[in-house]
Amino acid sequence: MLVSIYRYNPQTDDKPVMRDIEVEIPGGKDLMILDVLELAKRKDSSIAYRRSCREGVCGSDGMNMNGRNGLACITPLSDTVKPGQKLVLRPLPGLPVIRDLVVDMSIFYKQYEKVKPYLINDEPPPTIERLQSPEDRAQLDGLYECILCACCSTNCPSFWWNPDKFIGPAGLLQAYRFLADSRDTATAERLAGLNDPFSVFRCRGVMSCAAVCPKGLNPTRAIGHIRAMLIRQGT
C-alpha cells in the first residue's frame, strides 16, 4: 500500500515535504499503523518517529493519521483508510517539528508542569496510607489514566492560538485530577493559579480533545468542573 509520510530533516531539507513509500502489507492483514511504519522504516531507516510500549499506555507515538490524531500502535489500518486509499501520516499539529513525525513537546510539558501535577498535603502523613473511600477514589477515574500523548492538546484550536498561555486539555485534566483528590489540601492555591482569562477560560467547549483521546478520557468535562469551582469561589 502507498504510505505518504511527512518528511523533514532540518539538517538537509529547506522545507518539509510529503513523500510516498510503498509498503507491502503481509497477507493483507489489518495491521496497526505503528506496524506499517516499522515496515516502512525497514525500507528507509531514516524515517524518524517515537515509539515504546506498542500497546497504547506509554503515549510515545501520538501522530496525525489521515487527518485524525491518535496513537499509531492501537490504531488499525481499517479504522484509518478505505481499501485502495493512501495512508497519510503527519506529525501532531501545532507543535514545532524536530524531524519527520517527531514534534518538540516542550511547551506541552511546560503547561503540564504549571498545574503542579503532584499531590500537595502538608499535614504529616500517618504511619500507614492516608485513607480514602472508594467513592472519593472513584472521583479520580477518567483523570489519572492520562498518558501525556498530546493528542488532545494538539487537536485544540485554543491551544493552537495560545499554547503559551492556555494550559490546554491535557494539563487541565491533570489540574482537576488533583483538585478532585480528597487527599489534596491545596485547592485554594491551585484555583488561584488558574484564575486568569487564559489558563482555563480559553477553552471554548468544542470538545475536539475528547473526540481524539485514545484513552477515552474527557478533558472538556474536567475543565467544566474547574470552571464551576472558579465561579463558585468568585461568588
Binding site: 530533516n9 532540518p10 539538517q11 538537509t12 516499522e38 522504516k41 525497514r42 531507516s45 531514516s46 524518524a48 518517529y49 517515537r50 515509539r51 515504546s52 510500549c53 506498542r54 500497546e55 497504547g56 499506555v57 506509554c58 503515549g59 510515545s60 492501537i74 524536530i98 524531524r99 519527520d100 517527531v102 513537546m105 510539558y109 508542569e113 503542579k116 501535577p117 503532584y118 499531590l119 498535603n121 502523613p125 504511619t127 500507614i128 496510607e129 492516608r130 485513607l131 480514602q132 473511600s133 472508594p134 472519593d136 477514589r137 479520580l140 489519572y144 489514566e145 498518558i147 501525556l148 488533583f178 483528590d181 487527599r183 489534596d184
Partner: protein, 590 residues
C-alpha cells in the same frame, strides 16, 4: 576527545523507569546534583506497562498478614536461589515504601474501609505455605505501573530533579584506576555526544525482553545497561533465567495481567477443561508463573491447544461479570478488544506463554553496588557503579519471579541505592577524572558505527537474533539445541559488528540508536545462551529436557557469566537473613 562537552553530576542515573526515578527522588531530596538520563521521556518507560500491582504485606486485606510469609513465598518462588538477605530486606522494607508512594499521591484502588485494595496473585500464601491463598498485591485497577510511574515522575518534578530526556547512554567510562567515573551519552534531539562525569553512576536501564521474537516487553527494552556493563568487562548473574509470562495475547504478545486470574479467571484447553487443576491441585491457576507457563506448553504439545493450529490456550473471564471486569480489569478489556479482537465480557482471550522478565542481571548487594569476582572467586565491589531494578540481580527473584514483586523491587532498591549513595557522597568520594584516552576508549564503538561502510541492515539482523533466541532458548531447553543456538549467535557477532548505518545525520536519528541497541541485544543474548547451556539442571524458569531435575548438589548457586573469556562461574547464594532462620530448600510444589 577534542571539543567534547562534559557535564558533571554527583549522581547520574541512567533510566527513567520506576527504579531510576525512585533512586533519583532519594538523591535529589538530599540535595545532591542528580541527573536522570533517559532515552525516552520518563513516563514512556516500560514500568508504565505493569498492570496487576505491587505485592507487599501492608495488612489491608488481612490485618494479620506478615512480611515473613511474603518472604517465604518469594524464596520458594525463586526456587531457592534468591538471596535471603535481599529478600528479607525487600519484604520487610516494603510496607514503608508502599505507604510513601501513597503519600506521594499514587491513586491506589480502595477497600470499603478506605485502605489500599489488594488482590490475589500467583505463588502467594499465608503462614509459610500452610494457611492457603494470600491476597497481597496492592493495585490501582489494572494500571498500577502507570499510576506508580506517573506518581514518581511527579514527585521528581516537585523536587526539581534534573532530567536529560531523550539522551542515550552508549558506553561506560573508566579512569586509570579501573573505577567507573561516568558514561558517554548522545543527546538524541541534536546528535551531540557528551561525557557525563559522575561520582556515582547508577544503571536503572530495565530489561531486555526484545532478545526474543515474542515478548510482552516494550520496543525500548534492549538491555542497554547490560550491554554497557558486559563491554566494560563486568559479569552478569543468573542471566539464563528468563520468565515466560503465561498470558501474553496470542499473536500480539501484549500482556494480560496475572491479576485477571487473581480476580477469578482461569485457563482452559480446547476441551474447555480447567487444566491447571491437574498440574497444581492446590494453587491451580495461581501457581508460580514458570509452572503455569510449562503446563500450557505441555497442553499445546499434547494436542489440546486451541484454534486452527492448536497453538494457544484460552483465558476465561466472562464468569466474573461485566461490573467486576469494568472496575477491576478495565485495561485488560481495552487490550483484548484492540489486540485479540475479543471482548472478555463474553468470550475467552487467546493466550500463550510470552517472554516477560529477566531475573538475572548485574549482580549487586542491597545498596545497589555492582559486584565483580576476583581471581579467588571472592566478591569485589565495583567502585562508582550501581545497578537497580530489572537490569540488576540483587537477587530477590532467583530462578523465577513472583507476580507483583518487580514493582516492589524497583522502589525498595531504588530507595536503598539512593540512600547508600547519599551516605557515600556525604563521606566524600574523590576519584581521578577520566583522561582524554579513557574517554576515547569508551567512544570506540560509537566512532566505529559512525564511520561504518557497507554492511547488513539493522532490522533484518535483529529479527534473525530474536528468532535464534526464540527457537533455541524458549520455555523448554535442550543441550544440543542450545549448542546449535550458540553457534548461530557466534556467526551473528561478526555480522552485527559490521552493521550498516545508512543514515549518519545528527538530528533525532533513531536509526543510529537502533544500531547501538542491536549490539546490546546481542551481548545479552549471547550471555543468556552460554549461561543456559552451562546450567545442567532444571530450576525455576530454566527447564531442560535433558536435565529434568533440580540439582542442589551442583547448582544451588548463582551462575556468573564473564564476558572477557565467555566463562560461566558460580557464586554462592545468601542463606543468612538477619532476623529469622534460613528457609531451607524444599521440593517446590503448588
Amino acid at each position: 576527545m577534542k571539543g567534547m562537552r562534559s557535564l558533571d553530576f554527583d549522581a547520574a542515573i541512567v533510566g527513567g523507569g520506576g527504579a531510576g526515578l525512585r533512586a533519583a527522588l532519594q538523591l535529589t531530596q538530599s540535595g545532591y546534583k542528580t541527573a536522570v538520563i533517559s532515552k525516552v521521556f520518563p513516563t514512556r518507560s516500560h514500568t508504565v506497562s505493569a498492570q496487576g500491582g505491587i505485592t507487599c504485606a501492608i495488612g489491608s486485606d488481612d490485618p494479620n498478614d506478615d512480611w515473613r510469609w511474603h518472604m517465604y513465598d518469594t524464596v520458594k518462588g525463586s526456587d531457592y536461589i534468591g538471596d535471603q538477605d535481599a529478600i528479607e530486606y525487600m519484604c520487610s522494607e516494603g510496607p514503608q515504601t508502599v505507604f510513601e508512594l501513597e503519600h506521594m499521591g499514587l491513586p491506589f484502588s480502595r477497600t470499603e474501609t478506605g485502605r489500599i485494595y489488594q488482590r490475589a496473585f500467583g505463588g502467594q500464601s499465608k503462614d509459610y505455605g500452610k494457611g492457603g491463598q494470600a491476597v497481597r498485591t496492592c493495585a490501582a485497577a489494572d494500571r498500577t505501573g502507570h499510576a506508580l510511574l506517573h506518581t514518581l515522575y511527579q514527585a521528581n518534578l516537585k523536587n526539581n530533579t534534573v532530567f536529560l530526556n531523550e539522551w542515550y547512554g552508549t558506553d561506560l567510562v573508566k579512569n586509570q584506576d579501573g573505577v567507573v567515573v561516568g558514561l558517554i551519552v548522545i543527546c538524541i534531539e541534536t546528535g551531540e555526544t557528551v561525557f557525563v562525569n559522575s561520582r556515582a553512576t547508577v544503571f536503572a536501564t530495565g530489561g531486555a525482553g526484545r532478545i526474543f521474537a515474542s515478548t510482552t516487553n516494550a520496543l525500548i527494552n534492549t538491555g542497554d545497561g547490560l550491554g554497557m556493563a558486559l563491554r566494560a568487562g563486568y559479569p552478569v548473574q543468573d542471566i539464563e533465567m528468563w520468565q515466560f509470562h503465561p498470558t501474553g495475547i496470542y499473536g500480539a504478545g501484549t500482556l494480560v495481567t496475572e491479576g485477571s486470574r487473581g480476580e477469578g479467571g482461569y485457563l482452559i484447553n480446547k476441551d474447555g477443561e480447567r487444566f491447571m487443576e491437574r498440574y497444581a491441585p492446590n494453587a491451580k491457576d495461581l501457581a508460580g508463573r514458570d509452572v503455569v507457563a510449562r503446563s500450557m506448553v505441555l497442553e499445546i504439545l499434547e494436542g489440546r491447544g486451541c484454534g486452527e493450529h492448536g497453538d494457544h490456550v484460552l483465558l476465561k473471564l466472562d464468569h466474573l461479570g461485566e461490573a467486576v471486569l469494568n472496575s477491576k480489569l478495565p485495561g485488560i478489556l481495552e487490550l483484548s478488544r484492540t489486540f485479540a479482537h475479543v471482548d472478555p465480557v463474553t468470550d475467552p482471550i487467546p493466550v500463550v506463554p510470552t517472554c516477560h522478565y529477566m531475573m538475572g542481571g548485574i549482580p549487586t548487594n542491597i545498596n545497589g553496588q555492582a559486584i565483580n569476582q576476583n581471581r579467588d572467586g571472592e566478591d569485589e565491589i565495583v567502585e562508582g557503579f550501581f545497578a537497580v531494578g530489572e537490569t540488576a540481580c540483587v537477587s530477590v527473584h532467583g530462578a523465577n519471579r513472583l507476580g507483583g514483586n518487580s514493582l516492589l523491587d524497583l522502589v525498595v532498591f531504588g530507595r536503598a541505592t539512593g540512600k547508600y549513595i547519599q551516605q557515600e557522597l556525604r563521606q566524600g568520594v574523590e576519584r581521578r577524572r577520566a583522561t582524554e584516552s579513557d574517554i576515547e576508549q569508551a567512544m570506540t564503538r560509537l566512532t566505529r558505527l559512525n564511520e561504518s561502510g557497507s554492511g547488513e541492515n539493522v532490522a533484518a539482523l535483529r529479527s534473525e537474533l530474536q528468532n535464534v533466541m526464540q527457537n533455541h532458548f524458549g520455555v523448554f531447553r535442550k543441550g544440543e539445541f542450545m549448542q546449535e543456538g550458540i553457534e548461530k549467535l557466534d556467526a551473528l557477532r561478526g555480522r552485527i559488528a559490521k552493521v550498516q548505518l545508512e543514515d549518519k545525520s545528527q538530528i533525532f536519528n533513531t536509526a543510529r540508536i537502533e544500531a547501538l541497541e542491536l549490539e546490546n541485544l546481542f551481548e545479552v543474548a549471547e550471555a543468556t545462551a552460554i549461561a543456559a547451556e552451562a546450567r545442567t539442571e532444571s530450576r525455576g524458569a530454566h527447564a531442560r529436557d535433558d536435565y529434568r531435575e533440580r540439582d542442589d548438589e551442583n547448582w544451588l548457586c548463582h551462575s556468573m557469566y564473564f564476558p572477557e573469556d565467555k566463562r560461566v562461574g558460580k557464586r554462592a547464594v545468601n542463606f543468612s537473613p538477619k532476623t529469622l532462620e534460613t528457609f531451607e530448600p524444599q521440593i517446590r510444589t503448588y
